[in-house]
Symmetry: C2
Subunit: 398 residues, 2 copies
Amino acid sequence: MNKHLLLNLLFFFALTVTSQAQEALFRAQNIVSPEIHEDGSVTFRLFAPTAQTVKVSGDFLPSVKMETPMGQMDGPGNADLTKDENGVWSFKSKPLSPELYGYSFSVDGFSTIDPSNPFLIRDVASVTNIFIVGEGQADLYRTQDVPHGTVTRRWYDSPTLGMDRRITVYTPPGYEKSTEKYPVLYLLHGAGGDEEAWIALGRTAQIMDNLIAEGKVTPMIVVMPNGNVIQDGAPGEGSQGFYKPQFMIPKTMDGTYEGAFKDIISFVESSYQVKAEKANRAIAGLSMGGYHSLHISRYYPNTFDYIGLFSAAIMAREDATGKVYSDFDKTLLAQKDNGYKLYWIAIGKTDFLYDANKEFRSKLDGMGMTYEYVESEGGHIWRNWRVYLTQFAPMLFK
Amino acid sequence: MNKHLLLNLLFFFALTVTSQAQEALFRAQNIVSPEIHEDGSVTFRLFAPTAQTVKVSGDFLPSVKMETPMGQMDGPGNADLTKDENGVWSFKSKPLSPELYGYSFSVDGFSTIDPSNPFLIRDVASVTNIFIVGEGQADLYRTQDVPHGTVTRRWYDSPTLGMDRRITVYTPPGYEKSTEKYPVLYLLHGAGGDEEAWIALGRTAQIMDNLIAEGKVTPMIVVMPNGNVIQDGAPGEGSQGFYKPQFMIPKTMDGTYEGAFKDIISFVESSYQVKAEKANRAIAGLSMGGYHSLHISRYYPNTFDYIGLFSAAIMAREDATGKVYSDFDKTLLAQKDNGYKLYWIAIGKTDFLYDANKEFRSKLDGMGMTYEYVESEGGHIWRNWRVYLTQFAPMLFK
């Protein structure tokens, strides 16, 4: 055995803490999964010689109806893998359209990630593998050989909430060497998300880098705060340590966050080279973040010229009382009278919030409050929110 | 059903892309794993009603001998979980000493992560769950309610390598508002690692925040570059996209990185408020990064006053030729004659690089080149490298 190979193998063992890696080395080291083919089809593989059934489940397969306590809903489709003589299970998909997809395996009914694919995203408490297929729109989600912006995780003081809080900030390529001031997009996550959501699930840094390189997006700062006021940082990143994230986080839609949002603006405008004026402030968010964007943009008068509601969770809440929610119609009218450059509403045709958004649009129509509206295929999914960001960002600060 | 709960559940389904999350909701939603008890014991749980055997494997269990092509080596221990009437398997450990541990499950021989624990680290291509037990040393690895530094992922130009490369930089609390200049620690990863390794596996940001808050560490900038010159960024973060990382990356120990290291110093000293002088530069690294630190610190004369070799991969390499490796003894002697404040060598008693480090120390002894030496328990593992960082950092820039 070559001396270097031996040494490298020794390294490998020494670094290894689980039997998973040993298996990977001895039995499954040549497994490639997923394998993306030229035509956009994808082969998934899993080494599991003693398993009886192996399935792959993901958003690249036709959705299936599933029974839930609330009745039938759409769920991710699944497909059976077949086993070869070496104990390697595989499934080849049909050619997929360009996109970032998520998937997981089920081995004899037990759900698991793909051990051959270390690329994972966490959504609330679920971890799934991801892969990217194709060009065009999918290329916007890739790290390409273009000038790159900087992604910073830092902590800001929120006097209103009485805590230091973690925040993610994207600054565009060239920011550090520039003496210019930049416009700012505040980009808000949904329920169950945090200050990591837009970077990890939303591919914000890649989208902005690529669209700026194409000359389609004005270089801007993107601020991604944490909308859960009971947390100082994302699960595992804040002082609450490691815990199993819950979807239903209290106090996220009761006005506390909106009321404290001034601390975020104040931090950003005192810490970065920004154009601190309405014409250079945008706010957008998905689902709960759309709800936040709606309320923040009318609660702080004359503050934002660009508002984006992505599948916004527009709803009356019993806990939404107090100053932030008083005078809803009055503040909305004031927002209309003060003027803005873009009020952008996007939602998928099968989104469960479709009707609530339709109702809200009727309200805006009745008030003569103008907006642009985009209706996409699909439902309440990250695939749509990434697309919405690629559509919304080019319209800002022009 | 309460309207908000219904809506929240609807959200949950809408956000979900895999059947894993559905299971988690319907059948396993109350599973807590790992559960850390007051006395430091830990209960692991897994919902797998149809499984025949479930094991947990991790570095918190006594290691076992395992057969490899290179003979017997130490491997992580494992323990059997037992099943209750609800299909929930569990195992309770004995009380563990304060530490950050890694583990995975094996279900009927198939290795998998713990679906109840979304906290994961990637080491090369292996993903394992982590948890933290106890106080004292373990508290250094937690995000605590102390002033926090900033962690930045940005890209620097490496003219020597002809590419933009991704780099991780920690700046200490207060850096952004300060006009002071700071000392710099260059902290290098091992083989198979990248610019994410020290932050994720090494808990660098937590260690620095906590030790700075205790007044034990001088506020400093910590620069964590990528030592694999064929990559522009970590797997999944660079322009090579998503691929299965390999342990044996070519051109990592052939002098190319050391020769290009001047680009990193130049970037840091032109981009940050740093004290650009020998007395305020430190370089340290683990394993391959120890090898790099050894060579960089002698190849660039009079550049570093503090050198740290953590389980350093000290070895003669056939591919290590050319300018960087010529005059090894001569440059080491020059380093001795030029002087330095600390040459720190640490290694575990069972590390497979123990003898190579012993031989190197003999060489230094023979040359009259002074160093400090720390010999720990254990082998070539992240547990030791985290501890070494907590020991090394307090000695810098005093």
